[in-house]
Amino acid sequence: MKAVPAVANPALVVTSADFLLSMVEARWTARNGDGSKMETGIRAQQELEKIEQQIAKLQAAPGQNEETRGQIQQLRDRIHALRQQVSLHRNAWEKTELARHPQRPYTLDYVERIFTDWSEIHGDRGFADDPAIVCGMARFHGEDVMVIGHQKARDTKQKVYRNFGMPNPEGYRKALRAMKIAEKWGRPVLTFVDTPGAYPGLGAEERGQAEAIARNLREMARLRVPIITTITGEGGSGGALAIAVADRVLMMENTIYSVISPEGCASIMWRDATKKDLAAQALHITAKDLSELGCIDDIVPEPEGGAHLDHEAAAALLDEALVKHFAQVRALPAAELVASRYNKFRHMAQFLQVEA
């Protein structure tokens, strides 16, 4: 067993933590003071995490007096304040990095924490089973639901197996098949979106990626059971929308939803992929942006610093939001549900009527 690292001199640790924290604070203020890019949110985030670990060690160590405890609390307050600053000023590109954070909870992480009685279903009955999308029957607070979601992975082998969360046509066809099962037996559908996009591969084109997505859009629009979609990470264009034509579309706080990736947009419009932060800003892809544009219905808060820091807390917050919306859509009769879903998407437009 590894011994608890001895904290030789608590005062020294406090001083060094204090010093590091002032550095982060100073850089952060400089950045937001004159708008120069001294620091990205992700870097500040990582440094804060390191300082926090140090403090945690100190707290665990024996032999503290009243003074050290007070100092520790002060440090924690400062970190908290700074975190709030960072999240308030987090720009679109930083949100993109968070949305793609490898430690973010993925669909199966939420399934484990929010649902019970999970039974996965596989295959599109035509070609293959696509591991980039998972579907399954589950219970949500005792009620039977169909869960459908993109699935990413953390280690290389699994990443390849899940194709980095980029579905092939059979993934979308499996999802539709699952939705039809849910419709037949009157069960609500909950979908979770986290994909860079539908896979742009040779086989995908041969097997009709476009047709698979298009069909899902049309069939979801008229599905006679409630659908709630949550963007839990990346909402990559048509590949995301293909399971997101829902009565309620929720976005978690640090996620993005876009017609094209910031890199893709930058390389087309700026002819320079490094202009991705400019593109991210211009595309309006954050939860706040989408809410202002009227494309989503609600924003789900994340634990301080982001969902990747605390899967339990993130799942609990998501659960709370899902319970609220679930109750609302569950109450509507099927015809009304389909009509209001239609009207919602029907009015997603901004245009002016002028003299022809």
């Binding site: 539908a198 896979y199 742009p200 591969g201 040779l202 995908a204 084109e205 041969e206 097997r207 009709g208 990626q209 476009a210 047709e211 997505i213 298009a214 069909r215 859009l217 049309r218 069939e219 629009a221 008229r222 264009s237 048509g238 929308l241 293909a242 997101a244 034509v245 939803y257 876009s258 017609v259 094209i260 893709g264 947009c265 087309i268 419009m269 700026w270 002819r271 400019l278 593109a279 211009a282 595309l283 309006h284 892809i285 942006d289 989408l290 544009l293 494309c295 879903r341 239609y342 998407f345 029907r346 997603m348 437009a349 901004q350 245009f351 002016l352 009527q353 002028v354 003299e355 022809a356």
Partner: protein
């Protein structure tokens, strides 16, 4: 007076090299044949030597498909609000103005009511020359209105696609148009009104991944580029050369994604035949007379 003095300003050296005979002769990109432009136009802009289908504008499309070039344009009064105030190297608002000036359209689609072999139809024809035929809020709205009009009036609808996909400069709003149009098509489907999707060069991205693939029949012109992802993106992803003819109409036909590849000259007749087949009034007549 000097002999070689330039009378007015700088010469315009931008763009393609223009020759004096410009406008009279065209070179076929496919077989490199030099064609007299009038011959080409009389041949519906199809190369007389190799049958390459040249891109044509939305108005020519309508003229080719509708009887006596007679039609009534509707919903031509919608313009984009530039919802994101999008600026890249150039402002989207100025790109829009430029495209409007170049095409004489407000956005990348024309809705028209007319007759096809005597049968009243609704046509939405996309205009590729308008920012690559890309689909933002206006294109989405205009096509949705055409579908709703068809649903209400029970007139068959034909959508002629020519588009690079969703319009980046309107961000997520563009993406939502895919859902909006597809939802309208679900209603059209339930109302049993025929929808013929005609895919022309090029039809890619969000347009293919929504209404272009949802026709009762999906038919394409020969040699059109049709796909979800662009060929360059696919090449970069899989890191290998794409096979000859990949994502062309004939390739899609072979893989079961299209009902037919139809020559421009036969397009009208093919659609007319399909609409005859789908005509519900004749079904009722036959049943009642039996």
């Amino acid at each position: 007076m000097t002999w070689f003095k330039r009378q007015s300003g700088e010469l315009d050296t931008s763009g393609e090299k223009k020759v004096r005979t410009e406008g009279l002769w065209v070179k076929c990109e496919s077989c490199r044949q030099i064609i007299w432009k009038k011959d080409l136009e009389e041949n519906l802009n199809v190369c007389p030597k190799c049958d390459k289908h040249f891109r044509i504008d939305a108005r020519t499309r309508l003229a080719n498909l509708l009887d006596d070039n007679q039609y009534e344009v509707f919903d031509a009064d919608l313009v984009s609000t530039d919802p994101l105030k999008f600026v890249d190297l150039k402002a989207y608002s100025s790109r829009l103005k430029q495209a409007q000036a170049d095409t004489g359209l407000k956005d990348a689609v024309i809705n028209a009511r007319g007759k096809l072999n005597g049968r009243p139809v609704v046509i939405s024809a996309m205009e590729y020359a308008f920012i690559g035929g890309s689909m933002g809020a206006v294109v989405g709205e205009v096509i949705t209105r055409a579908i709703e009009h068809a649903t209400d009036s029970k007139a068959p609808i034909i959508i002629v696609s020519a588009s690079g996909g969703a319009r980046m400069m309107e961000g997520a709003i563009s993406l939502m148009q895919l859902a909006k149009i597809s939802a309208a098509l679900a209603r059209l489907d339930e109302a049993n009104v025929p929808y013929i999707s005609v895919l022309t060069d090029p039809t890619t991205g969000g347009v293919t991944a929504s209404f272009a693939m949802l026709g009762d029949l999906n038919i394409a012109e020969p040699g059109a580029l049709i796909g979800f992802a662009g060929p360059r993106v696919i090449e970069q992803t899989i890191r290998q050369k794409l096979p000859q003819g990949f994502q062309r109409s004939e390739f899609l036909l072979e893989h079961g994604m299209l009902d037919a590849v139809v020559h421009r000259r036969q397009m009208k007749a093919y659609i007319a035949r399909a609409l005859e087949f789908m005509d519900q009034s004749s079904v009722v007549r036959r049943q009642s007379s039996a």
